[in-house]
Symmetry: C2
Subunit: 249 residues, 2 copies
Amino acid sequence: MPNNSTALKSLDVCFTPELLHLHHLSNKAVVVVDILRATSCMVTGLAHGASYLVPVSSIEACRILQKSGYVAAAERNGEKVEGFDMGNSPFEYQKAGLSGLPIALTTTNGTTTIEKSLGAAEVLIGAFLNIASLANYLRKSEHEAVLIACAGWKGDFNLEDTLFAGALALALEADFPAVSDASLAAKYLYKAAEPDMFAFLEQSSHYKRLARLNIREDIRFCLTPNVYTNVPVLRGERLVNHQIIKQTV
Amino acid sequence: MPNNSTALKSLDVCFTPELLHLHHLSNKAVVVVDILRATSCMVTGLAHGASYLVPVSSIEACRILQKSGYVAAAERNGEKVEGFDMGNSPFEYQKAGLSGLPIALTTTNGTTTIEKSLGAAEVLIGAFLNIASLANYLRKSEHEAVLIACAGWKGDFNLEDTLFAGALALALEADFPAVSDASLAAKYLYKAAEPDMFAFLEQSSHYKRLARLNIREDIRFCLTPNVYTNVPVLRGERLVNHQIIKQTV
């Protein structure tokens, strides 16, 4: 049956979790994005065989899960927290040793944004690393509306999450028209940055914060499209890879 | 004496009043902007001889001031509220009959943003209509930091206020460097829109809302730079024109 409902579909962008209360979530697929680096790490960890991920807001909760057998990752202000197995570098999530294990993680902005998105019809995890698969998943889904929830930086707008929002909005343009001012701005900014996102972000505040921490390679990796094909989705408290079920036509 | 403190100066952009709590205001000149159309009206009214303007949040407060002799302007959702002398069109503020009279006004977004800016070192009113004079005032002022507070639309980001923020950030670039991600984004968007702001905004949600109300001429006027040279500033509860005091060198 042809899909005649495209005209009703829509996409919007929320620049920071501080503005999520302005949106109705219950009828929307919310794509949480924290490019540098929480959601890039989540996609990477699940692509490399972690059985599931549990995002938690506090360091305390993360420590409790660590004691009960989780591989535990904690980051604050861009740096790994003392006493945890991992910080917030996607390269740490590529280690073969994680295969089959559950991961608990807490990050400055990303996990809070997931928590604030819990009223959504479905919560998905987006990154440049899986953008084509994610767009494909949304196109084939029955969702009428998509909201891209940028994690930002401590409540404020940031560029890297906005660029991702613009890229995903453009990828989904034919299926989910995006007409809000935030989505128009995100699309413009992505078009301006696309020829060299790394150079574009070198001016940004978060790049400067992270560059001081010597993680240019992390940034380059997090800006690479389609390294992975998995689509993490929240099921209860756990992020797992969406299982693609082949449908008969 | 040459000004050696430029390196310490800074400018930032706040996309909506919902994010103002993320900023320290007490050491900043806050420029409130609601291009379509509250701050454009304020600049126009004071340029045309209104003695002062009192912005109020509620329609009730506006009505009380009307009864005590103010010319009263009230707008909600883009339309004039029944029973008031004016709505939110800058052309209404050009009437000769306003000369020497005080105006009370309440609007959907602009007056709320002024109220949330009250902790600032100084609250100024910005619009394309007075952008060069405003930039000049800030350059010559002793303010170390400028925050451009966009009124947005019902708490959310909007394009027209962001374009103004980008234009003012560019005009002040040599004096107040702007490095936050929000100010970078605003500058990019203004550069993209500058050749034809009217065409750029035709895609935006607020344009569409207002175009339905048949006020294309209002929009064209509000996007015109430097029609006026006055700089409205909040003194107590009143917006008045800044009095330029010529300094001896």
